[in-house]
């Protein structure tokens, strides 16, 4: 495997750490050998390379500043992408075009068009794509159980979902700060990638171009989609209510981009499902219901059972071998990130919108449709 981006998030995947869900990370797995690490920061990539070679006991891992060099290597089967968000889709497309299977951190893309391009490329090259929305696999299956209970009708007909967070989007900067001296061992051009070139201003964060909830949002909307049985579809109407994006599915289920009033559970990647006969709230820390017995009664064989994976990285690697689609396959990730990004668009426009989830465009609304895409700096067009 090759690891593209070995900062906090990528380093966590690679070596494990307090926040990760895999002890020892990919480095500790016997079924994976990491042959390449890549980062625009020299210190990071060299440190990661050194640690890996020390771990393997021989010099098997190379360090690269340019991810294209990783993709060129024929002996690399899969890459894990944990770069700043504005790079995710471009790198994913380039990776599958190079024949690599991909595990990519969220958000899957920063625009709907990017996400569609990743989906098309993954399908065209018959590659495996696992989105880094690990809540479908990890955290003791809590999110899966919540969605299974909801889809089994435990709270009656589903009426509302409180997604805790609302929409997110990307925006290239319109004004530039005064230029600063470029740090040694840092590639500003490769950091910016598809973003417009502008003078180095000292901000090298992973989410510097984000608007709203682009970072965490996909986790929440992934569970919204799963619980609403909406993996193959999306919103039909969107609007802003009290400053938060909201939307409705064709099924009539309404999704609010805010916490359920008074419910403490949900902030950590979670949602609250509200049905005719009760509600279920879930996040990484807890699964609760009202009435409380809803979540205490075990799920029966005859109730809805959803795709099960007990390890998100393990599921990815299994699928790399079997060529089956992973639990957070690109089609699912595309719809989850779309729900998030559409919320970002309605927040930018601050007016109700109609969305056609089959054709994936706003109905008769050029202004809104223009926000489905964002220009990419050559050569990073998709």
């Amino acid at each position: 495997m090759g690891f593209i981006g070995v900062g906090g998030q990528g380093g966590g995947h690679l070596f494990g750490g307090a926040w990760t869900y895999l002890t020892g990370g990919y480095a500790a797995r016997r079924d994976v050998q990491v042959l390449a690490v890549c980062d625009v920061w020299r210190d990071r990539r060299e440190r990661a390379k050194q640690r890996l070679n020390q771990h393997y006991g021989r010099d098997v891992c190379e360090a690269y500043a340019d991810f294209r060099q990783v993709l060129e290597r024929a002996d690399i089967d899969a890459v894990l992408i944990a770069t700043p968000a504005h790079w995710h889709a471009v790198m994913s497309v380039r990776a599958v075009e190079a024949g690599k299977d991909v595990y990519c951190e969220k958000p899957t893309a920063v625009t709907i068009r990017e996400s569609q391009a990743v989906l098309a490329a993954v399908r065209q090259y018959a590659r495996i794509y696992q989105a880094g929305t690990q809540q479908r696999s990890e955290y003791g299956g809590r999110f899966r159980l919540a969605c299974e209970l909801v889809r089994s009708g435990r709270i009656g007909r589903l009426k509302e979902i409180y997604a805790w967070r609302d929409g997110g989007a990307i925006a290239w900067p319109k004004t530039f700060a005064p230029e600063k001296p470029l740090p040694d061992g840092f590639d500003w051009d490769l950091y910016l990638g598809p973003a417009p070139m502008f003078p180095f201003d000292g901000n090298t964060g992973p989410h510097r171009f984000d608007i709203g909830e682009l970072n965490w949002g996909q986790h929440h909307y992934d569970i919204v989609q799963w619980g609403a049985d909406a993996d193959a579809t999306g919103p039909v109407e969107l609007w802003v209510e009290n400053g938060r994006s909201c939307y409705r599915y064709a099924s009539g289920v309404t999704v609010y981009g805010r916490p359920y009033p008074g419910e403490k559970v949900g902030g950590n990647g979670g949602v609250c499902f509200v049905g005719e006969h009760g509600r279920i709230a879930v996040d990484r820390d807890a699964l609760v219901s009202e009435p409380p017995d809803i979540v205490r009664e075990p799920l029966r064989p005859v109730e809805v059972h959803l795709d099960r994976a007990d390890s998100h990285s393990g599921n990815f690697l299994d699928c790399v071998r079997s060529r089956l689609r992973p639990i957070c396959d690109i089609a699912i990730a595309h719809r989850s990130v779309s729900a998030l990004l559409l919320g970002g668009i309605v927040k930018q426009l601050q007016r109700p919108l109609q969305w056609d989830p089959a054709r994936e465009q706003f109905v008769g609304d050029d202004e809104a449709n223009a926000l489905l895409d964002i220009p990419h700096r050559p050569p990073w067009q998709l």
Partner: protein
């Protein structure tokens, strides 16, 4: 092929992922022939075509045709295809999957058994249970996932095969299906099988709704079998049976250490019969006034009060006497209370002084002093039934009549008691009185001294004859002024 040709071929040959993309494009463009291309790709040995065909298979609608490919492809592709079919969940694939569930290839067999979870029905219960009993963990998981047909009934039906029971019990316990609990319970009640009992217990613990049939069936009659199953649940039906069954057992005890539990049972039981039994047992076994005090508070009706009084009477305890005295005014059990008090007084009394007295009075007559009153006949002397209200006194001697009847002068009072004797025998009454005293023994006047004086115990000595059984003694004590008291000692 010569070396040059090989080099040229290697240079010209597209890399695997490009060939994979080509194959995807061919499948996408193939229309009705897509199925055939998928079949060819999966069955062939080109990894690029296999990879492309497997991805295309995800979107290929004809599950039956995909399942039919299983025998034609290599074991690794079989494993992947089984995974795909399992995820699709279409039961048309079941026969093809069953055929691979006994494959010699370990991975294929495990994948087939795993796939039978979402794809199988009640008909594969035996197959899966046998595989699980042989250590196939995939089969164990599949037994939990089976959802088509009456799986629970099939599991109960397979119970007759002992080698499968452990796996069946594990699956039944974890499935915790309310619909299966009835048949499980019936089988358990018929066989008494411990493995099944444990499975049922787990079901009840796991799910309240699954426990419902057991709770509904629980009676005093089957409590021995079903309480180990559902006795741990907090439920009113369990509570009732536990109190009845546990209570009935408790009520049979002869162990006084269990009196607190019996009293508690009498307090909380909502079963009248058990409550009454517990009350009786507690009254029978209690050895202390504190227990009787609790029982008295719980007593419902005269019968239970009498039980308490009977128990109290057996105590040698001032506290017991106090309780008996408190009941002497009771309309229903006043007589029994008085009797109990008398017995208690007897028991508590020091041997030489009689302490179990009842008194009546004071009696006065206008213009008559104590000396004149000495000769006047008042109702106690006429033995008119109901005319006299006797008051039971605490056990003490000498008896202070001012304390018992209030301060007063120029009056008289009567005091009576009973003395038991097992035989006829001579005895001597030794009497002290403040002031004068008149004595009736077994209804006959035997002594009289009309006088004003201080109390001197044993000042008067009167010989009497004790007859077998009850002997009655009545005194008339006059009061001039100041002290008013008496004491009597029976010397045999």
């Amino acid at each position: 092929m010569n070396t040059l040709a090989i080099i040229l071929w290697l240079v010209a040959a597209p890399t695997e992922h490009i060939r994979c993309a080509e194959y995807v494009a061919r499948i996408n463009a193939a229309g009705e022939r897509a199925g055939a291309l998928i079949a060819d790709g999966l069955a062939g040995d080109d990894p690029a075509a296999q990879s492309a065909a497997m991805q295309a298979a995800h979107d290929f609608y004809d599950t039956r045709r995909l399942a039919a490919l299983l025998p034609t492809v290599s074991p690794p592709v079989q494993v992947a295809l089984l995974g795909l079919l399992a995820r699709r969940g279409d039961p048309v694939a079941m026969p093809s999957v069953v055929a691979l569930a006994r494959s010699a290839n370990t991975e294929v067999r495990a994948a087939a058994l795993r796939a039978l979870g979402p794809l199988g029905d009640a008909s594969v219960v035996r197959l899966l249970a046998e595989a699980a009993a042989n250590g196939e963990t995939a089969a164990r998981q599949a037994l939990l996932e089976l959802r088509r047909g009456d799986v629970g009934a099939a599991m109960v039906a397979e119970w007759a095969s002992p080698p499968l029971q452990k796996e069946l019990a594990r699956a039944l316990a974890q499935r915790a299906e309310p619909a299966t609990v009835g048949p499980m319970m019936k089988l358990y009640l018929e066989t008494g099988n411990e493995t099944l009992r444990e499975a049922l217990r787990q079901v009840c613990q796991r799910s309240r709704s699954a426990a419902e049939p057991v709770l509904a069936a629980l009676t005093e009659g089957n409590a021995g079998a079903l309480l180990p199953v559902c006795g741990g649940l907090v439920d009113p039906r369990v509570r009732v049976v536990l109190r009845r069954v546990g209570g009935r057992a408790l009520c049979g005890t002869k162990d006084p250490e269990l009196v607190p539990e019996l009293i508690e049972l009498a307090r909380v039981s909502d079963d009248a019969a058990v409550r009454a039994l517990a009350f009786r047992a507690a009254a029978r076994l209690s050895k202390g006034a504190a227990s009787f005090r609790q029982l008295l508070a719980l007593a419902k009706g005269p019968e239970e009060k009498r039980l308490v009084l009977a128990g109290l009477a057996a105590l040698r305890d001032a506290e017991a006497l106090k309780m008996a005295l408190s009941l002497c005014e009771d309309v229903e059990v006043g007589a029994e209370a008085a009797e109990a008090a008398r017995q208690l007084r007897e028991a508590l009394a020091k041997p030489e002084w009689l302490t179990n007295w009842e008194v009546a009075g004071p009696y006065r007559q206008e213009g008559k002093n104590f000396s004149q009153l000495f000769e006047i006949v008042f109702p106690p002397e006429t033995e008119e039934v109901g005319a006299v209200r006797w008051k039971v006194l605490p056990a003490e001697s000498p008896v202070d009549l001012q304390k018992a009847l209030g301060d007063g002068e120029q009056c008289v009072a009567y005091a009576r008691t009973r003395v038991l004797s097992d035989k006829e025998q001579p005895a001597r009454l030794e009497i002290g009185s403040d002031d004068g005293v008149k004595v009736w023994w077994n209804g006959q006047p035997v002594f009289a001294r009309n006088v004003a004086r201080l109390l001197t115990p044993g000042e008067e000595k009167v010989n009497v004859t004790l007859r077998p059984g009850v002997n009655t003694l009545m005194l008339k004590i006059t009061q001039n002024n100041l002290g008013w008291a008496f004491c009597v000692r029976l010397v045999k």
